[in-house]
Symmetry: C2
Subunit: 877 residues, 2 copies
């Protein structure tokens, strides 16, 4: 006969498909010798058989269950339904995959009008016994008999009103007895038979309810959406209840095997004597530090210490343990890997390697790369935070925490900053013109835009805190206020931003600066040993470059030349260039820009030493450099001695419906080759000068953006090589350089074999590639992407994590086609995804050469790359 029921002692983690996650876990803990309250599990196969048998529990199964129940009575010395020392159990569903929508836990099953008295006796606490009983009836009514919970709550509330008490805890045992009777009446009224006093019947009904919950509509929808097969079925786990409130030799507590806040190797936790877990939660009594248990119950304490070591050795990680002591007997209710701060995570990982508990490889896997962000940015003061009021939430666009006075224009921020104020820039959205205000601010809040909007991208690049797309923030620039629902904030009011969560607070919350410990450096060093991917950075300025080097960047994967154009001293020249009517006028303006760009490149090259630097030629549409407000146009006209009408005409000519898909990238060079000519000249002359002056051998990688067709690249490459050849000839200094292209237009991916004929490297621009592959504008998608994620249509915002099935497929095609044409093609990624761990792993799997990300994400990428290499088990050292 097939075995449908397993005692915890018979199982192990390997039987998860049969016992479900919970059952297997309890069996595993039992197997390694933990004093887990005993119990048994009805298998998933029993669930399937139940459906085969048209939802009837068959006799053999019932017998097997009762057999195990009697083992349980035997080992516990308690009896099911007993009036003196009743055995009570919990009943839980347990599928292989955790699945919301299925039946919740039922606690204290086995209580009836008799055994409740037993419970009162053994706990010496009548109130507790009846509270447990009325809760059990309510839960049973709800999840087994499907009686609306509110029906019970109504009666409860009524009683509280009658007794004029506010909290459940203020009800007496008389009240609870009364409620118990009332609840039983509700059940009788609703299902036309009495609440079952037969505890075995209670158990069978609960088991059936679990089986049935496998096929309730919510569970079915969840399975369909998550591709979980219907045939898996659910197991049912029945476990003995234990009580920490059976007098002064009983108690309950929670402990971490190490300090979850800083990682110190010292037991950390608290306990309460003669109490149940919920007493800790209720906060009526103050728990004691775990170490105090040693005085009260040294045996239990020592046993616990021993178990902690056992658990750390077994799970090879810091554990978060719930325990109960029932009449001197220690029970472990639950153990799991403990949550911890990043700081603690690193310290614990490094310590455990020192202790020989885990290998370096395992240590590396212990820290969530995303978490590293916490270490690199300021955080809020814990105490201040407790009293802070969240006024709204936007997108966590750039990490860190900051507080400051609000200003609505970049100019005002700059002014505030120069008079020593901390200023937060609040905008509908930012645009390149706002750069100086962004630099001068301590944080940025926008009402629109997504995770890759201008504000988000620029802030991340600067390592500056930013909350973007906070849709509830209604800005009225004219009145210099913003509203959130009914709250009004004026210019100069303080707010605080949490860039890690997107929370916006009113008032100031102090911040603490990050400190990178020695363990951090050790840990990152280990990560570097394991990764195959190189890590570069996206940096446009010498300052960014230096920051990135400190964080371990091995080169620049993306230097955006346009950001250099926005500098105060340059923008007038850039505008003059754009407003030129003839090629001669344009060249004259470009001649003025040349020495400035050359100096920029020289500084960046010098900062990077001989590490590779990829420079992207001008990308954004020209209208981004022009003002759009009437007032600003008039000012510009006056300043440049060009007629208002003329500027107005150019602005209107350059206006685009969909600038994202407009006249930008290499398309500019096809219309105005002289712009790229100037930029290439600046790049190569910078390299020539550095070679002459310092003997530095710079090999610039010149990157052409937005290529979708080989001939575009050829046209631009012709311009580049001609320009370079002339400089080399004129200067007599030979400079090696590469010409490559972004792969950011779907067509480039699809025709990568063609494009690789002339591209010496590819760099995936996954921001734009995602925009075009999905047809999502990253600036507009905020309006619906949240809904998509909420409704489970998208698992994750594809601008945050590479969409492997769509965008990733195109990347794969591009890599395959590209390498078919050019086996040694160098391939990297410089989109925002380059600093997101899951995406970094995907890049590793695609066998890219490097990922490039903003400076503050370099450590994240380093660790993610190491984890990817380990997870994908190739080229391990």
């Amino acid at each position: 006969m097939k075995k449908f029921v397993y005692d915890f002692m018979e199982g192990s983690m390997d039987l998860k498909p049969l016992l479900g996650g919970k059952g297997a876990n309890l069996a595993e803990m039992t197997r390694i010798g933990l004093p887990v309250p005993s119990g048994f599990t009805v298998t998933t196969e029993a669930c399937n058989e139940y459906y085969v048998k048209n939802t009837v529990l068959w006799d053999e199964l019932k017998q097997e269950i009762f057999q195990h129940l009697s083992y349980l009575e035997e080992s516990s010395g308690k009896r099911f339904g007993d009036i003196h020392n009743p055995l009570l159990v919990s009943v839980r569903s347990g599928s292989v995959f955790s699945m919301p929508g299925m039946m919740d836990t039922i606690l204290n099953l086995g209580l009836n009008d008799e055994s409740v008295e037993g419970l009162a006796k053994v706990t010496n606490n009548e109130r507790f016994a009846y509270d447990s009983y009325r809760r059990f009836i309510q839960m049973f009514g709800d999840v087994v008999l499907h009686i609306g919970k509110y029906k019970f709550d109504t009666v409860l509330e009524k009683r509280k009103q009658e007794k004029q008490v506010e909290n459940d805890i203020d009800l007496t045992s008389e009240d609870l007895k009364f409620l118990t009777d009332e609840f039983k009446k509700i059940i009788e009224r609703e299902v036309k038979h009495k609440f079952p006093q037969d505890v075995k019947q209670q158990l069978l009904m609960a088991i059936e309810a679990v089986f049935k919950s496998w096929n309730n509509p919510r569970a079915k929808v969840y399975r369909r959406i998550n591709d979980i097969p219907d045939h898996l079925g659910t197991a049912v786990t029945i476990q003995m209840m234990v009580f920490g409130n059976m007098g002064e030799t009983s108690g309950t507590g929670v402990a971490f095997t190490r300090n979850p806040s800083n990682g110190e190797k010292k037991l950390f936790g608290e306990f309460l004597m003669n109490a149940q877990g919920e007493d800790v939660v209720a906060g009526i009594r103050t728990p004691q530090e775990i170490q105090a248990l040693n005085e009260k119950m040294p045996d239990a304490y020592n046993k616990f210490i021993e178990l902690c070591e056992l658990l750390e050795k077994h799970y090879m990680d810091m554990q978060d343990i719930e325990f109960t002591i029932e009449r001197g007997e220690l029970y472990i209710l639950q153990t799991r890997n403990g949550k911890r701060t990043t700081n603690a995570a690193i310290n614990i990982a490094v310590d455990m390697v020192d202790e020989g508990l885990i290998s370096k490889k395992e240590a590396i896997m212990r820290v969530d790369p995303q978490q590293l962000d916490q270490l690199l940015h300021p955080t809020f003061d814990e105490e201040d935070l407790k009293n802070a009021e969240v006024i709204t939430r936007g997108l966590p666009a750039s990490s860190g925490a900051s507080y400051g006075k609000i200003y609505f224009s970049p100019e005002d921020v700059v002014k505030a900053n120069s008079s020593g104020e901390k200023a937060i820039l609040v905008r509908h959205e930012t645009s390149p013109e706002d750069i100086e205000g962004m630099v001068a601010s301590v944080g940025i809040l926008t009402a629109r835009g997504g995770m890759t909007s201008h504000a988000a991208v620029v802030a991340r690049g600067m390592g500056k805190c930013c909350v973007a797309g906070a849709g509830e923030v209604k800005i009225d620039e004219a009145s210099r206020i913003f509203k959130v629902r009914d709250q009004v904030f004026h210019e100069g009011d303080y707010i605080s931003l949490n860039g890690n969560t997107g929370d916006v607070y009113s008032g100031e919350i102090k911040t603490e600066n990050p400190q990178l410990t020695g363990n951090f450096q050790i840990f990152m060093g280990w990560a570097d040993q394991y990764r195959r991917l190189k890590i570069r950075t996206n940096a446009d300025t010498p300052r960014d470059t230096k920051q990135a080097l400190e964080f371990g960047a091995e080169g620049i994967g993306l230097c955006r030349t346009e950001h250099m154009f926005f500098d105060d001293t340059r923008i007038p020249v850039v505008r003059r260039m754009i407003l030129s009517r003839t090629i001669e006028q344009r060249k004259k303006a470009l001649d003025l820009l040349l020495p400035m760009q050359r100096q920029d490149f020289k500084e960046i090259f010098e900062a990077m030493g001989e590490k590779p630097v990829t420079i992207r030629l001008l990308d954004p549409p020209l209208h981004e450099f022009l003002p759009h407000e009437e007032e600003d146009i008039r000012a510009l006209a006056k300043g440049m001695e060009i007629s208002y009408q003329q500027i107005k005409e150019v602005v209107s000519d350059l206006k685009e419906f969909n600038p994202m898909l407009g006249h930008r990238g290499c398309r500019l060079a096809i219309t105005y080759p002289e712009i790229y000519q100037m930029q290439v000249q600046a790049i190569i002359e910078a390299a020539v000068e550095l070679k002459k002056e310092k003997g530095l051998e710079v090999v610039p990688e010149i990157m052409v953006p937005l290529v979708g067709e080989l001939k575009e690249l050829q046209y631009v490459k012709d311009i580049i090589t001609k320009t370079v050849d002339e400089i080399i000839e004129d200067s007599g200094v030979d400079i090696k350089y590469l010409v490559g292209t972004m792969i950011e237009v779907p067509r480039a991916a699809i025709t990568a074999d063609e494009i690789a004929k002339d591209a010496e490297f590819f760099s995936f621009g996954t921001n734009d590639l995602t925009q075009m592959t999905y047809g999502f504008s990253r600036d507009d998608a905020g309006a619906f992407i949240k809904e998509y994620v909420d409704k489970n249509i998208l698992e994750k915002d594809p601008f945050q994590r590479i969409d492997r099935d769509g965008v990733g497929k195109l990347m794969e095609i591009a890599v395959d086609l590209g390498k078919k044409t050019r086996a040694d093609l160098k391939i990297g990624i410089c989109g925002e995804h380059g600093g997101e761990p899951n995406s970094v792993e995907f890049c590793h799997m695609l066998n890219l050469d490097y990922v490039s990300c903003s400076p503050y994400r370099v450590p994240i990428a380093r660790l993610a790359a190491a984890q990817a290499a380990i997870n994908n088990k190739d080229k391990l050292k």
Copy 2:
């Protein structure tokens, strides 16, 4: 020894790689017995050998050339360089592929100070002889010796000034003798040796010049861009000159074997006695009808008639023939398939099938499908056109010709139309709000936007003439004028538009209405026999539907529901729906729209009978339905009794940076499911009513736009099926229907296997797919696409012709993946490309089920589909 020179009599079309296009063609004509002036061709292999030998003509080659030259002297009875009856030749380059940038033709080679006298004698025309001589020297100087042409022109101009004459023709033979001497002096001065009097040297120098032109920079660039291998080389063809001006038994003329204007089977052409071709061009003497030659030279005439028949039989097509009679001897200089009007093309094709000259299959291949457009739209009166002034040129966005008074707002157009005026709507760009003005206009001119801009798409749908993206047109709406450079046009001024060419004219040019002959119907019937693709139409109204049926549509491939929303009576309700703050308000507005949409669908279904109708659910972003100008918003607020502020907020909330990639398509349904619910209800209820009332079995195909991910489609499909099921149950009438999706987002193509799990049909939206695959906004690309085509980076605007390598590759992937999941998946295309012949062929090759295009393109698609089937030789009947 290898043979490097072929007499015309030795060659044929098969030797094209050796003789080049021109040489092979002349050999072929000689082979079939035409009296072509004799000559010979130096092969492409000789050219390659010339480069192997470091660009030196070797003796064996020279001997071979002179050998053939002496054969030529023999057969012609003339001698090279002779003072009495000189042999003159033309020298031409001839590569396998026609190639701009290579050497032009040199005429009259063999003239020197002696033979010029001979030419004067035999033509009895000294002026002609010296004119030929000075032209030859100039041409030789230019193309062989690379002396700037302007140097000769300067001398010529100076002489004309001195003699106070305006035209070359007014110079006397003395003048020409003088110029001959001057030209020789220029050459001596420039190249430091005299103009070669040795005619053999002239010949060798010309041959070398042709060889060298193979490797000049322009030719090299052209080859690189067009993937023409460098090793092909060029041939050189040397042909005897003949003269039609050797007295009254000589002459020259041009003739078509049938009438190129209407196709009538009657020789059509003209000739001049004692004249050269250029005399005809100069227009000094009036040529006679070809039939008059019968009286003057019956032998030559009869011979010519005979040759015409021979040529038609050989080339199996109407021929355009150039001939010269030299002293009674008829020579054919050139014959080619004659250009003809569409009308003539169809009549000739049908006649030739009747005559047994060609098969139906061949007849179908004779008409350019694109040309059919001419037949379906008005054209300009030929006479009026001659005096018309083109003021600018835009994109030929929608076929036809029209004239009318200009107006700058839709309202003014409507007013003008109702008072009986023909009005042309002139706009920066049109938007959906302009629809009524577009309907009331006779033509549309826009300053911006491309071939698939709103104006273009809507105009084509209406079969209305439209010129789009005329960038030179600067509109000043406030002053009600537009400027083109310095010309100013005021409201009410007449202009005329040619939608086939994009030309814009000032003033009125009368138009003629199209007439479809019986042959058109016969011809299209033949096409229908051969095609495999079904042809559907894009139609949103019963009127469009009827027009398309007349043109042979077999169903509707795209019915856009949003156009129905813009109707005057509906837009207020639509706006109320959009401005709703609660779902209840929105549903109330939708309830008002329901009966209107239901009626629309009913009428369209009824017009189509039981032919398939694909209805696309709402696609555009909601802001398209709202006003954006302050004034309009205020008016709306007043009309709807909603606060100005509230509307303003919604408008600003809905504003998008890149609406193309924004909140539209099925994304709307994910946020507002009730909109699609209403539309589906309208569709199905319409079908139910028609079944009840008329017994019509409509099977609606419900199409979900902008799907990029299976779960999007699943979400929407759930809404659809639930809605339909309810109606079917309530009404008791069973309606079959299909749910499918557009494939217009690259991600949909890449994940088509997934999407086909829930899509019962695919319809390629190649407009959007092209936009996203290239990253080109169709509304903005006008600014650079022309440059792309001009610079040969794009062979063709991808919005006009499917880009097979990129967009086409994605389509192929989608078809393959889609059919892998669902073998019987129905696949069509409903983008603008569905009516473009090259794209239709591609759809045939992809084995799509149908193409769908605007009503006026249905005949084009029918013919293109037939040609595709024939070209790709499958399923021929």
